[in-house]
């Protein structure tokens, strides 16, 4: 009843093209941003930042990257954590060789390195499609895993094979408390989300979606498949690289190659399937789902035990897999466009409610 656009007339194309077209949406999003930036930092606990918000935000960023490639451009990638690994190790090496460099610069450079490798592994997409491309990207995953485990130069010849980082510093500000990390990551993710939104509503985004929906028709109207696919791979890998660098430096602090394994890649894919292919919002929903579900299950465990059901921790972790599996099957069959699509339908209904038309 309150979610209406009555009286909101758009008289210019610019107004019609804005990201949040409905006033209520704008209020909601600005309110959410104000809450996340002004209230959460004072109110949240360290546990909340470390275990929930920081992983959620970083993983959301990686999921947005993957969604640009899979959901918008229709090119599957089964090895997206590899690009996160590249971003993380690139950032590590940049910091080792150029200490004192502003972390924002480090992030951008790490993203660019990842984007270059993304273009390289995107090349097969010019010839092969679907499942075969999936296998080719899987090769990227294993190749990258192998390189970082075996080639010592990338880990600066550390004896354990793992790397560890010093606290991040920029403009004389040392980011070391979880709260500061959260604020920094939040700002980065907001900026990148806005850029992703701009890309998908611009002509580059339309050429990605055209490749996804009908590649022959796209070619005939003059879209170069090579340009469309490789830019999608590059941008997607850039996002993953930035997310990977933040995952390494701000979330893990020290890590081994196994941190960016195939499991991580598949989790990213699950996020966009459950959250919504071809939706930026869906990337956040999916990430929240995957990050929160294990925590929710571990919280629910004592409750189930109180009810007399014997569920041990091993069972709980199995439950997690079962629920993910069931959800993925459910969404692939019932709603391939994920929770974001359900949300969009609900919003459409809400605009009319309580009237039928």
């Amino acid at each position: 009843m309150f979610y209406r656009e009555n009286g909101q007339f758009k008289s210019t194309y610019r107004e019609d093209q804005q990201i949040l077209g409905i006033r209520q949406d704008r209020w909601f999003i600005f309110g959410l941003i104000a809450f996340a930036l002004l209230v959460v930092p004072y109110w949240g606990s360290d546990y909340m930042f470390r275990a929930i918000l920081i992983p959620f935000l970083i993983v959301s960023l990686a999921a947005i990257g993957l969604n640009l490639l899979v959901g918008y451009c229709g090119q599957i990638s089964l090895g997206h954590a590899a690009f996160m690994a590249i971003g993380a190790y690139a950032a590590y090496n940049i910091v080792v060789h150029f200490p004192g460099l502003n972390f924002i610069v480090v992030l951008v450079l790490a993203g660019l390195v990842s984007a270059l490798v993304g273009i390289l592994f995107g090349l097969p997409s010019l010839q092969i499609k679907g499942l075969y491309l999936g296998v080719a990207t899987l090769a990227a995953q294993f190749f990258v895993d192998w390189v970082f485990a075996r080639v010592k130069w990338f880990t600066n010849y550390s004896s354990s094979g793992g790397v560890s980082t010093a606290p991040v510093e920029m403009f004389g500000w040392t980011i070391d408390t979880p709260m500061e990390k959260y604020v920094f990551i939040l700002v980065v993710v907001m900026v990148f989300t806005l850029m992703a939104k701009n890309l998908v509503r611009g002509h580059i985004g339309r050429s990605w979606m055209a490749m996804r929906d009908m590649d022959v028709a796209a070619e005939v109207i003059g879209i170069r498949p090579m340009y469309a696919k490789l830019t999608a791979f590059a941008v997607s890998a850039f996002y993953a690289g930035v997310a990977g660098a933040m995952w390494g430096f701000l979330h893990l602090g020290s890590w081994e190659p196994a941190a960016f394994s195939i499991n991580f890649s598949l989790n990213l894919l699950f996020m966009i399937i459950i959250g919504g292919m071809g939706s930026i919002l869906g990337s956040f929903i999916g990430a929240a789902f995957i990050v929160l579900l294990p925590l929710a299950l571990s919280q629910a465990l004592p409750l189930l035990n109180n009810l007399g059901l014997k569920v041990d921790t091993a069972m709980a972790s199995h439950l997690e897999f079962m629920i993910f599996g069931a959800l993925i099957v459910f969404f692939l069959i019932v709603e391939p466009l994920g929770i974001a699509r359900l949300w969009a339908v609900a919003k459409e209904k809400l605009r009319l409610w309580p009237f039928p038309h």
Binding site: Y13, R14, Q17, M195, A196, N198, L199, G202, H203, I204, G205, R206, S207, M209, A210, R212, D213, M214, V216, A217, A218, E219, V220, I221, G222, I223, R224, T231, V235, G278
Partner: protein, 261 residues
């Protein structure tokens, strides 16, 4: 009779042969298309009509022959170059971008004219924004022309078939083609929809001077709107000329009606 203002030959197809393995889709086909005319290609199913269009805009590469377009001689060109040099195309089986709205579909047809870089778009900088608005305005003219204003934001998959055909036409028009290849624009339509579509095709021809190459099965439509007709059968050309000439050609009648034994 509409006033006709037919110019020189804009597209000249010379001795085109195309085969897929052992299947000869086109054998030694030659015909020309003059500027501003409506040229129809007819023929029974499997005659090679769509293959012919696919050769012209570079989807297929013929093994023999050459195509002269605006004085430029070539055997085959890539689709991008064809689009860039003003050859537009619609499809027999709808080939719309299903996940996108009507507006976005037609905007995509305008992509060739949009040049801002990826970073400018990501940051939505002045030039990118200005370009988006400028092209949007053009696309709105196309939407007005095709009378689909009410469907602007509708996902194309949800639209009725006849309107989807219109969107397909709009997507091709957005690129302001010089030559428009229409592959069965009226297939599967009822009488009223066909009349609408004919009107659009003729309006495009009259108002924008666009040269039209049209594949169509409905003989009434073909005879009414086309200036000249090419008839294909089993990959060979069996007739060429004005609708009256073609209609009375014994070979064409044979191909269409069969011959008594």
């Amino acid at each position: 009779m509409r006033p006709r203002n037919i110019g020189d030959v804009i597209l000249d197809v010379k001795n085109i042969s195309l085969s897929f393995g052992g299947v000869k889709a086109l054998q030694n086909i030659s015909f020309d298309v003059k500027e501003h005319e409506v040229r129809a290609i007819i023929g029974p199913n499997g005659a090679g009509k769509s293959s012919m269009l696919n050769c012209i805009n570079g989807v297929y590469h013929p093994q023999e022959g050459e195509i002269v377009y605006q004085g430029e001689v070539r055997r085959d060109m890539d689709t991008h170059h064809a689009a860039e040099s003003g050859i537009g195309r619609t499809f027999q089986n709808l080939a719309l971008f299903k996940g996108m709205s009507v507006l976005d579909n037609i905007m995509t047809g305008r992509n060739l004219k949009m040049k801002t870089g990826i970073l400018a778009q990501a940051l939505h900088l002045g030039p990118a924004r200005a370009e988006e608005l400028r092209e949007r305005e053009f696309v709105e003219h196309v939407i007005d022309f095709l009378e689909i204003q009410a469907y602007r934001k509708t996902p194309v998959g949800r639209m009725p078939y006849g309107l989807q055909k219109r969107v397909d036409l709009g997507r091709a028009l957005a690129a302001q083609p010089k030559v428009l290849l229409l592959d069965e624009p009226m297939a599967g339509m009822n009488m009223e929809e066909k009349q609408d579509m004919c009107r659009f095709v003729l309006d495009i021809n009259d108002e924008f001077g666009t040269t039209i190459v049209l594949i169509e099965h409905d003989m009434g439509v073909v005879m009414d709107i086309s200036d000249r007709v090419v008839v294909l059968d089993y990959g060979r050309k069996i007739g060429d000329g004005t609708p009256e000439v073609v209609r009375n050609d014994p070979e064409v009648i044979k191909a269409y009606l069969g011959v008594g034994h």
